[in-house]
């Protein structure tokens, strides 16, 4: 608790400090590559024959996903707090890679916890993290995925709390993390809102993003929350079936519960034990969801749907072949929902997909999965 309070105060002080923002903005621009383009996907739009589709190209950022936004922010914050050892959890490895990158940039020690199942699925990212100088510690407990990596990172943090900053990678965990991580990703929606007005002179019909913990989605949604006519659509991992353990669709299959310091929707059994989850994308494979998404769900402001493994794989191929853009399997869930909904909308409607990451890391999975499905 003391560490969370220390973090909350340090974060508030940084937020009020123009020098902090100047440093962060300059790194986001010159190092990470912001602003990211809002790209009109003309061929995909034609092919689907409905709404105009724009892609917010977070996949073009340094390290290949939106995760770098938050890592730069928290990295600078840790520096201000005088903490030189950084720990992080990672699922798909994108947050781990971004953390390892920022630690290399800022000269900090870096330990990344990763479930052994995810290490197997995302081998390339494990190598990238090690190349960047991070120590990757495999986690063999529980489902050996993101949830277990967070458990282990939290155990490390409470043990080494005096010297260590826990660079949590999603809008999860105890306050101030969900707020802070959201704030560092708000730039996505801020840019997109301005860009779409410049290009189209109006706001989109909907903005679509995949939701694991929910960091890219909340970043994309947040600026649009007051725009009541803009639909906010979060896409969860539908996995390979509706049965508990076969998916990570928290709003369909979960009930309110407490996991890792957060009260939100949680996939669990009747005894309150946390359920195993499945998704073809490691980054969406998590039993709970950021609490702010739970609030947006309950208030009805945002809608949450799910896309199956197969739909995400098909969407990956579709985007690759119509636009020459290979999305991360996580982001492909948002593309899948777009493929589902765009044809039902008129040509005057506009959809923005937050393309949160690129698919280079998924080559191993794609070659295995798509071969099976004859693509």
């Amino acid at each position: 608790m003391a560490a969370l309070e220390e973090l909350e105060h340090a974060y508030a002080a940084a937020q009020a400090d123009p020098a902090f923002h100047a440093r962060l903005d300059s790194l986001l621009r010159d190092y990470a590559g912001r602003p990211t383009p809002l790209y009109f996907a003309e061929r995909l739009t034609e092919e689907l024959g409905g709404a105009k589709i724009y892609l917010k190209r977070e996949d073009l950022l340094h390290t290949g996903a939106h995760k770098i936004n938050n890592c730069l922010g928290q990295g600078l914050l840790a520096q201000r707090m005088g903490k030189h050892r950084i720990i992080a959890e990672t699922g798909a490895g994108q947050h781990g890679v971004a953390t390892a990158t920022v630690c290399a940039l800022l000269g900090m020690e870096c330990v990344v916890y990763m479930g052994e199942e995810d290490m197997r699925r995302q081998e390339l990212n494990v190598y990238r993290m090690r190349l960047l100088g991070a120590e990757v510690r495999g986690v063999s407990s529980g489902s050996k995925t993101l949830k277990d990596a967070i458990n282990e990172a939290m155990r490390d943090w409470v043990t080494n709390v005096r010297t260590t900053h826990y660079l949590l990678g999603s809008v999860l965990g105890a306050h101030p993390y969900p707020m802070m991580v959201r704030d560092f990703h708000r730039v996505i929606g801020k840019e997109a809102r301005q860009q779409i007005q410049e290009k189209e002179g109006r706001l989109p019909t909907a903005i679509i993003a995949c939701v694991g913990g929910g960091s890219n989605a909340i970043g994309a949604f947040y600026e649009f929350i007051p725009d009541a006519n803009v639909r906010l659509i979060g896409v969860e991992a539908g996995g390979r079936g509706k049965k508990l353990g076969e998916h990570a669709a928290r709003f369909e299959g979960g009930v309110p519960g407490v996991l890792q310091g957060t009260y939100s929707y949680v996939l669990q059994d009747e005894d309150g034990q946390i359920a195993l989850t499945h998704s073809v994308s490691a980054g969406l494979d998590y039993a709970s969801i950021g609490p702010e998404h739970a609030a947006l769900h309950d208030s009805g402001r945002a809608e949450y749907v799910s896309a199956s493994d197969d739909a995400a794989l098909a969407a990956t191929v579709k985007l690759a072949r119509t636009e020459g853009i290979l999305p991360a399997l996580e982001s492909a869930h948002a593309v899948a929902e777009c493929i589902h909904v765009a044809p039902k909308l008129g040509r005057h409607e506009i959809l923005i997909i937050n393309l949160s990451g690129r698919g280079d890391k998924d080559m191993g999975i794609l070659s295995r999965e798509l071969k099976l499905k004859g693509a």
Binding site: M1, D148, V158, G257, L259, V266, D271, Q273, I274
Partner: protein
């Protein structure tokens, strides 16, 4: 009835319920009480025990593997209460199993079983309003964890909300045995003492007779957990109660061990 420590220092014994099985946990608890444990903490196994080290993680996994549920732990508590009416009895859990079962239903069942207190590791005093009210209605003692990193204002709040005893964590980190007790513990107990007249029990890493004697110098009681759980892990189920009895008797006889 209020939790009492008959011996000095008092001894709180943590057991993961259902490891190796519920019946054996019951026999172990009785053996522990008869060997000198003042309070039994019955741990509810949880899939994601993030405050626990590898020893208790493994015990939880074993207990869950054969389907130990919160209701089973409550039934075990009731049997223990009947078998040993004077021992202190605390339910130790993560919050989610209780939340899923229903907080009110849990408190009623625990009180009915004769449980004295409840310790929920991931329940922080800052968010505990509803929880505290429910425990109070059922006359259950809330027990909170106080850490060496907790500032004085927080210790005061923890002390004010606690009944039964206050659980002082000997060091920052997770549960598990260690070679020597951290110097953090004594300072924490001294700070806590300013805010409470309740007994203060020191836990996390207390694993041998020297530790118990050392804790006795500055605190009222010690909590022994992982050291017991690892003894159970290494024993045949039939032998586990006598192994635990011997272990606890050994904790109580530091002079003899030193010789």
């Amino acid at each position: 009835m209020p939790i009492q420590f008959a011996s000095k220092p008092g001894l709180v014994a943590y057991l993961t319920a259902g490891d190796p099985d519920l019946k054996t946990t019951g026999a172990i608890a009785v053996a522990a009480i008869d060997a000198g444990a003042d309070v039994i903490e019955l741990g509810v196994p949880f899939s994601d025990p993030l405050a626990d080290g590898p020893v208790i993680q493994r015990a939880s996994e074993r207990a869950l593997k054969h389907g130990t549920k919160l209701v089973d732990v409550l039934a075990l508590a009731k049997e223990l209460r009947a078998a040993r009416p004077n021992a202190g009895l605390v339910i130790f859990s993560y919050f989610n199993p209780i939340l899923r079962y229903g907080l009110e239903k849990f408190c009623a069942a625990a009180a009915e079983a004769g449980v004295d207190g409840v310790l929920v590791t991931d329940m922080i005093v800052e968010e505990a309003g509803e929880y505290l009210a429910c425990l109070e209605r059922h006359m259950l003692a809330p027990i909170f964890l106080a850490a060496p990193t907790s500032p004085d204002a927080r210790l005061e709040r923890i002390a004010a909300a606690s009944k039964g005893f206050v659980y002082a964590i000997s060091r920052v980190g997770i549960t598990g045995t260690q070679q020597s007790l951290a110097a953090d513990a004594e300072g924490l107990v001294k700070r806590l003492r300013r805010y409470t007249k309740l007994p203060i029990a020191v836990g996390f890493g207390v694993s041998n007779a020297e530790h118990l004697a050392a804790v006795g110098e500055f605190a009222d009681a010690a909590v022994v957990g992982s050291a017991l759980v690892v003894t159970i892990e290494r024993s045949e189920p039939a032998e586990a109660p006598s192994s635990i009895a011997r272990f606890i008797q050994g904790l109580r006889a530091p002079a003899m061990q030193v010789l």
